[in-house]
Symmetry: C2
Subunit: 324 residues, 2 copies
């Protein structure tokens, strides 16, 4: 089993120094008033490429380039990991190829191309991305850098937690969204190492609660194509690297409804003036909905990203949501 | 003529210490790449009540309370100043009455009420707000705190420039939106005092260029009810306090089109992940449109606020603007 330690996260932090942004932390007197808590939001929507994914992608590619050179790398992603790896490749001068479904949002494909990556499109009906990735990797002799299930990805994402707990050493709770578990497990390792009494809590959409069920049953649960607006949490299951790490280092998992995600998004946009994607609002949703009881506590929550089509976001805010 | 000096702004900064937020500065590698400049954005959209207006309102009310007590104050505003003064009144325990048109946006009236102010509605067809304010002020013996044309308001808004130039002492240009001229003149006084070589440039919408015309002609120009999405710049003219200050301390005025405002808003929302109201995007619009030539320079720009109805913002971004 792949172990990831605080040392791995500290090494990642060194690699990311002056490359990734040390993202700001934001607070809101209004949120503190509502929750009767002190809430600090770690804003990875302000990270390069608009999400925390840049940390893991750059860490993994930089380590690989250093250790054995990299003539090129391959990944599969229609989302934030694709843009993140594309930029990492450009900065490290390593060609990046991304396998992306032909129906991926145009803006995401364009951002990935803008960063200089090559895209190979496929039809979801004809082949899975893992099958195609394996074939392309073999044909072109390219190593695959997966979106989350890799120790160096976990270590990179863990720098989010490291920065937060270094700035706020006395946090009672750290609340983190969970898709494939890379961000959650990385943050849990960093935070538990530096502050063993801080509780680390993962958050999923109700409709995509595979990690929550896996966590409480101890058996890996898979949910394919769950219907949730939080696209970063549509991953079918935790991975072989991340599942054991989540089991060992995370204290609790909770779920939130689609309405709670939309309400949290609206709060973040309207009151805090920050653009947050649905997955990025999961931790805030857990706090505002009361799914995590925070009154009287000092609490950190991770805003994972802000890559959302504005038109789609606003239609979410004004159809699912109650009138503002 | 009312003078406002660096000392007044330093006194305002003391009054605002630990009350107003020292707002963060944001940068964007993408913006720097597009403009070939180093651009720092001073983010007053993250200020309490969502705009810089809190600084001037609190400074004025705190000084008034200290010097002669304040049993209550009156203002007229349908926008950010109303919310700002309402919160200042709550914090200083001074009752605030706001004269607001009956057709003001519901969200703005609600926010003002939430902060504990009393609202007196009037019909724009029947009476001007200045006439009604004078009558109510006399009847209730309440002093009026106007939205911009007051030395203590100017001094409070000047703390925006003071914070920015203290953090970035070598700025070549400072670019600031202009409505009634309180923010622009206050920032100009602070910045010119600390850094005489920094050029201070005001920005207006083309359709509401009263201050630009006043600046270049030396005669106060009035434009009533200009048609622009930048509602904070719909003020008919500079005031008797702000006009001379703008003439003396500002170096240049430029205008931007409605399309340029929308394009800047879209950039700020999509790429920088911050919610900015149209007026708040004026300075960025001047940079991105090339109306101010910034290549090779270190440039500061003020984002004045983020109070925008999200639904309305969507319709702006996707009707006036080009497809994204």
């Amino acid at each position: 089993m792949a172990e990831v330690t605080l040392d791995d996260i500290l090494s990642a932090a060194e690699r990311l120094s002056n490359i990734a942004s040390v993202t700001p932390v934001m607070t809101s007197a209004t949120m503190d008033g509502i929750t009767k808590a002190g809430v600090v939001l770690k804003c990875e929507n302000f990270q390069r490429t608009g999400s925390f994914k840049f940390r893991g992608a750059y860490n993994t590619l930089a380590k690989m380039s250093m250790e054995k050179g990299a003539a090129g790398v391959l990944t599969y992603s229609s989302g934030n990991h694709a843009q993140a790896l594309a930029l990492a490749g450009r900065l490290l001068d390593v060609p990046v190829t991304v396998i992306m479904p032909s129906d991926a949002p145009r803006v995401k494909a364009e951002a990935t191309l803008d960063y200089g990556a090559e895209i190979i499109e496929y039809s979801r009906d004809e082949i899975t991305r893992e099958e195609l990735a394996a074939a392309v990797a073999k044909e072109r002799s390219l190593p695959i850098i997966p979106p989350y299930d890799h120790p160096d990805i976990v270590a990179g994402q863990g720098t989010v937690g490291l920065e937060l707990i270094s700035a706020f050493p006395g946090l009672d709770d750290l609340i983190v969204c969970c898709g494939g578990g890379g961000l959650l497990s990385g943050c849990a390792i960093a935070v538990k190492s530096k502050s063993p009494n801080t509780r680390v809590i993962g958050v999923e959409p109700e409709a995509a609660d595979d990690a929550t069920r896996s966590f409480y049953s101890g058996e890996l649960v898979t949910i394919r194509d769950p219907v949730t607006i939080a696209d970063g949490a549509r991953t079918p299951s935790l991975g072989s690297v991340t599942f054991p790490l989540v089991l060992r280092h995370v204290d609790e998992m909770v779920t939130v409804s689609e309405q709670e995600i939309v309400d949290a998004m609206r709060f973040l946009w309207e009151r805090m003036k920050i653009v947050v994607e649905p997955t990025g609002a999961l931790a805030t949703a857990a706090i505002l909905s009361g799914k995590v009881e925070v009154a009287g506590k000092q609490v950190g929550a991770v805003i994972s990203g802000g890559n959302v089509d504005l038109k789609r976001a606003l239609s979410l805010l004004y159809s699912t949501g109650k009138a503002s």
